[in-house]
Amino acid sequence: MASVSCKDLRKTFSQGETTVIGLDGVSLDIEKGSFMCLSGPSGSGKTTLLNAIGGLDTPDSGEISIGGERIDQLAKSDLADMRLHNIGFVFQAYNLIPVLTARENVEFVMQLQGQSVEQRRELSTSILEEVGLQGMEDRLPTQLSGGQQQRVAVARAIVSEPQLVLADEPTANLDSKTSTQLMDLFWQLNERRGITFVIATHDARVMSYCRRIIRMVDGQIIADENQAGGPGNAD
């Protein structure tokens, strides 16, 4: 069974008097453990699709299922609950909570899930070590570089072992070296933990890591390609 299934998704936005098509009949299955990207120019619909899969936005029509459960008709609070337990997000702008330390940011989701202090402490320590931030646990976001902040965001996204990690232009604000380090990290997490990664990007280097590339234009999927992917593919 596919981890994520989208059927004939349609979404339009109003911008003044004009209507912009966000998604135009998108159907897509994402297998568990996939490492894939959505690519295309600005306005192609990749972020809209990512938001719809993540339950942040609701399509005008069509169906979305995660782990076999329909999410397109869920209420706001049920969607929040679904995101909390099933999905990790990595955003372009890091989006850490500025008043919390690196460890507290990582533990934030676990706190919402109601995990015990010991559990949280153990998991956050190991995940921060895994993303290479040992010794920086008590730093506030303002005391971390962009790359380090994005690593905290990744740690936060994967710490509760979600079925799916959705990353929207995760390398857009990073230099090429840090971007490579981040993609290496994504790849390792996918390989080691089997977490499904869906990355919206138009960065060719990021695309080269992915085993599957969905190309979008004007809200439609125009190509669905498979490749070897991985760090070796990026060289």
Binding site: N51, S77, R83, V99, L100
Partner: protein
């Protein structure tokens, strides 16, 4: 929700100090408001307590017992001929600290220079001292020594009006039950002071037996004045007195006897509440503004927390906790400051410089601020309730933010 309360409380506290200048300004406003609220309430309560307790002390006591017709027609015809054993037993119950059986009749006092209408009080000094007088009230001479004492005690103002002095003789007159005039010469043996000069002009004290003989009413009295241990709360003993008195006598509390004083007390409570509300309305504008700004500045962050799976109601609670922190901090410091600033005034505020004006309002020459825990509790509960209500709108707006729009906010 319990699981996330800790993180909500942490977030709320840290968010509060992100813009510490703004928070400190709001905190200062709350502290000032709470201080003003408590300080003014203490002054007002002290003022009303003074008016009421002086008023009660020199006239009605906390309750009075009369012949059923006496209050409509206060003449000697409506005297109490004798006191039943049940009533005397009821007067000994806990809560009653003293009582006095008086002959209280309208009369006239005359010196060689002037004459005045008065209220003549024939009293047993041993009983009266448990109700009205204290040794400090006598400023010249002495108080009566027994109910057969042939002296008279007058107020300072009365002495001035009569243009006489201690040791001189005056004549007292009052109507007898036969509609004749009973009169007698008395020597002024004492001069008293009262909180209000009108009382010094009105009441003249003489021995009860002497007055009874002068107006020919035998052992009858016209009034029993009763004092309890708390003038605000008579109910523990007043009902028992009413039961003991049966239908033969009229037992009334001071609120019924003196509508002005009762109204003053009710007004004080109402004004206190209105003052609290007014101060808080002003504060609430600031609070709403602060909370709205705090939400406005964190729209992206709130969107992020929603995206991560935080429930809208948890966001609402987080903003409310921020407001609560501000309110509780402000209340603690404000209440503490009010208490501290009232300590140097505990010995009383000297109002002698405005004595005449104060007297018009029934105020004594010293104002004792009175701070009751109930005033602090009442204002604290009210401020927290209204404060949370004021924080509710920005909190509700935060909870209703659309995560996508919020995340794209710049």
């Amino acid at each position: 929700m319990q699981m996330s309360l800790q993180v909500l409380a942490t977030l709320a506290w840290r968010n509060l100090w992100r813009n510490y200048r703004r928070t400190l300004i709001m905190l200062a406003a709350i502290i000032l408001g709470v201080w003003a609220m408590i300080f003014m309430t203490a002054l007002m309560r002290g003022m009303v307590d003074g008016v009421v307790s002086d008023g009660i002390k020199y006239l009605p006591g906390h309750a009075q017992i009369h012949h059923p017709s006496f209050r409509d027609d206060p003449s000697v015809e409506h005297a109490i001929k004798n006191l039943s054993p049940e009533l005397l037993a009821a007067l000994k119950q806990p809560g009653i600290t003293g009582w006095s059986a008086r002959v209280k009749v309208p009369g006239m006092i005359a010196s060689e220079r002037d004459s005045r209408g008065i209220m003549l009080l024939g009293v047993d000094p041993a009983q009266e001292l448990t109700v009205t007088f204290s040794a400090d009230d006598i400023v010249e001479g002495r108080f009566l020594e027994s109910s057969a004492d042939t002296g008279v005690v007058v107020g300072r103002k009365m002495l001035e009006h009569l243009e006489t002095k201690l040791g001189r003789r005056i004549v007292l007159m009052s109507q007898t039950p036969d509609n004749d005039v009973g009169d007698r010469g008395f020597r002024i043996v004492g001069v008293y002071r009262a909180g209000q000069s009108s009382q010094e002009e009105m009441y003249v004290y003489a021995g009860r037996e002497v007055v009874q003989k002068m107006i020919g009413i035998g052992p009858a009295v016209t009034e029993l004045s009763v004092i309890g241990n708390d003038y605000r709360n008579l109910s523990p003993w007043l009902e028992q007195l009413q039961t003991a008195a049966g239908g033969n006598l009229d037992v009334a509390g001071w609120r019924e006897l003196d509508n002005y004083l009762s109204l003053a007390l009710t007004m004080q409570d109402s004004i206190g509440l209105v003052m609290t509300l007014l101060i808080f309305v002003v504060l609430s504008f600031g609070l709403v503004n602060i909370m709205a700004m705090a939400v406005f500045e964190r729209v992206r962050e709130i969107g992020l927390m929603q995206a991560l799976g935080m429930q809208p109601r948890a966001i609402l609670v987080q903003v409310l906790i921020e407001g609560l922190y501000l309110l509780v901090l402000g209340l603690c410091i404000g209440n503490g400051l009010a208490w501290l600033s009232l300590q140097p005034l505990a010995a009383g505020i000297d109002l002698s410089i405005i004595a005449e004006g104060a007297d018009m309002y029934g105020l004594g020459t010293t104002l004792y601020p009175s701070l009751k825990p109930v005033d602090m509790i009442q204002s604290t509960v009210l401020v927290i309730f209204l404060g949370l209500l004021a924080s509710l709108l920005p909190a509700w707006r935060a909870a209703r933010l659309d995560p996508i729009r919020a995340l794209n906010e710049h």
